[in-house]
């Protein structure tokens, strides 16, 4: 299947899936390990991909994806291009709160090859929150993992009373203020 859709599969009981898309595999691996180390009350499965579309051969084995996090490295223009190309393969209804952009490498201003303006515009156009972090540092990595886990809980519907869409618009409104 060419396009990732949010509701084309049945949800599994007490579990959630997050898909990390980004060109830097080692960083994805580290973030995934940090997420797995966190204490959680539900089963979590993390899928890593360097770009979309995902190969269609194993599509029937894949569970329903609850959250997609696109990782952009501010030191590499290539990662931004990669993410922009992958965004075309995501169904539009995913952008109702189930997508977020993780921008890493922001600790070192003198290394940036990507304009922060460009990333901010990407978040605006796709109506998704942009989280800035520095995944090379242990502490921030753990904090980012916690944030992602919380978002995943909401996006998979495990928290009654809050939907992915309302949470997404809450983040965006508070960022605007």
């Amino acid at each position: 299947m060419a396009v990732v859709r949010p509701f084309d599969k049945l949800p599994a009981l007490n579990s959630a899936t997050v898909l990390l898309v980004g060109s830097d595999e080692s960083l994805q691996q580290k973030l995934a390990e940090a997420i797995l180390k966190e204490k959680k009350s539900f089963k979590i499965s993390i899928h890593l991909a360097t770009s979309l579309p995902l190969p269609s051969e194993r599509d029937h084995l894949r569970p329903r994806i609850d959250l997609i996090a696109f990782m952009i490295d501010i030191k590499s223009k290539y990662s931004l291009k990669n993410v922009e190309a992958s965004l075309a393969h995501v169904d539009a209804s995913f952008f109702l709160g189930k997508v977020c952009f993780l921008v890493t490498g922001v600790g070192r201003v003198n290394y940036c090859s990507v304009q922060t303006n460009a990333v901010w515009k990407l978040g605006e156009v796709y109506c998704s929150p942009v989280l800035y972090c520095e995944l090379e540092l242990e502490g921030i990595r753990v904090a980012t993992a916690q944030r992602l886990l919380r978002m995943l809980q909401i996006c998979s519907g495990q928290i009654p009373g809050i939907s992915a869409l309302s949470f997404g618009s809450l983040i965006r409104n508070s960022a605007d203020e």
Binding site: K77, S113, Q115, N117
Partner: protein
């Protein structure tokens, strides 16, 4: 053009008239790769092909580079004569808004061609200058330069007495001179540039030996209106400092200035984003016949051994590419710079299957100037000196603010 199997073609570009222009591409790694892959260099005629060991990197989804790629130098090709070269006027301005942060270009100030007397500024060329940004100086007056020179000389002598010897062995008498360079400024609102020179004379035989210039540093401000408008009275704005010579003297002179004028020196690094702007802007400048090639040096991250990639482009090809990208003369936008770099990257990718956009740009050298991301600059032409200084002043100001 006939192709032989296994040979990568010499990259060609066609300009508007359909005439061919070949360009030079060089890919030099610092380390030789795993066995059998020795980089071969070939110069000379276009017909010479290199059938050396060259395995193209196997493309994976989203790779940076395949670690087994061997290196090879493409033959440097001669340029066919008669290629049309569209020359725009001496185009050198800065984009509207903060350099590197503004996204849209606006109408530019007229490019600064009225320049310093070339002889006076000739000593600034072809030297490596390290860049610093300086906060505004308190109670600095350009009338007291001789007094400052005397005080700085005394300070340096005192430091030497204290035992902070800068040169072991030879006992040197250091003479300090402060002078003003009134031509190095953008407009009359800018403060005139000021030069500090440390020259030494051997104290053993002061009559016989000559004065040797050991270290020089100069402050300047070119079109620094953004800063000078906002500072209160008594402050002088000279946000850019360039130093050439031993690092220890920079520390000594810097600490004297910091104590005397309550300012702060900070090393100015140039981010890869700003380097791409410089590459685009300097490529657009008109240069004479035997200009040196435009060279970009990239450093590849995340490898067990460090690798530097050097990408050299014939200056007229680069200019032709920039001329097709740039829409309005006198105005440069972020999109145009991005497009220019993307063209270069995709060209490289087509031949070497390496995504240069995933690497870090560390050095840009054109015929006008050469800049390194650690904050090291070299001016090569006095015609564009003021223009380059304007860019650097903008960078310094954005670091201060």
């Amino acid at each position: 053009m006939s192709r032989r199997r296994g040979e990568a073609s010499t990259p060609r570009k066609r300009n508007k008239k359909g005439q061919e222009k070949a360009s030079t591409r060089r890919f030099r790694p610092r380390q030789t790769w795993p066995p059998g892959a020795v980089p071969r260099r070939r110069g000379g005629s276009r017909e010479g092909d290199s059938n050396g060991a060259w395995r193209a990197a196997a493309p994976r989804s989203g790779p940076v580079m395949e670690s087994k790629a061997a290196a090879r130098t493409l033959p440097s090709a001669g340029r066919l004569s008669g290629a049309a070269r569209r020359s725009r006027g001496p185009l050198f301005g800065r984009a509207h808004g903060r350099f590197g942060q503004g996204s849209a270009g606006g109408p530019l100030p007229p490019c600064s061609q009225e320049n310093a007397d070339p002889q006076k500024t000739a000593f600034l060329l072809r030297k490596q200058w390290t860049l610093y940004s300086v906060t505004p100086l308190y109670r600095f007056s350009s009338a007291n330069l001789k007094e400052y020179a005397r005080l700085l000389g005394a300070f340096i002598a005192a430091e030497k007495q204290k035992g902070l010897a800068v040169e072991v062995g030879v006992d040197l008498d250091i003479k300090v001179t402060f002078s003003s360079l009134p031509d190095l400024r953008g407009s009359d609102q800018d403060q005139a540039a000021m030069l500090v020179q440390l020259s030494s004379r051997s104290s053993v035989s002061p009559k016989n030996s000559e004065e040797k210039l050991m270290w020089s540093g100069w402050f300047c401000c070119v079109s620094g209106d953004d800063l000078s408008e906002n500072v209160p009275e008594d402050f002088t704005c000279l946000p850019l400092f360039l130093a050439n010579g031993a690092e220890s003297y920079v520390a000594i002179v810097g600490s004297w200035f910091q104590k005397t004028f309550d300012c702060r020196f900070c090393r100015l690094a140039i981010s890869p984003l700003n380097l791409t702007w410089m590459a685009a802007m300097w490529t657009g400048c008109k240069v004479e016949k035997n200009a040196s090639a435009t060279e970009l040096v990239f450093s590849v991250p995340c490898l067990p051994q460090p690798l530097d990639i050097s990408y050299a482009i014939h200056p007229e090809d680069a200019k032709a590419l920039w001329d097709t990208v740039q829409k309005t003369p006198g105005e440069i936008t972020q999109e145009e710079v991005d497009l220019f770099m993307d063209c270069l990257y995709s060209h490289f990718h087509r031949h070497f299957k390496i995504h240069l956009s995933a690497t870090k740009l560390v050095k840009v050298s054109t015929a006008i100037a050469s800049a390194h991301c650690d904050g090291i600059i070299k001016f090569l032409q006095s015609k564009y000196l003021i223009g380059v200084l304007m860019l650097l002043t903008e960078l310094a100001i954005s670091q201060i603010q």
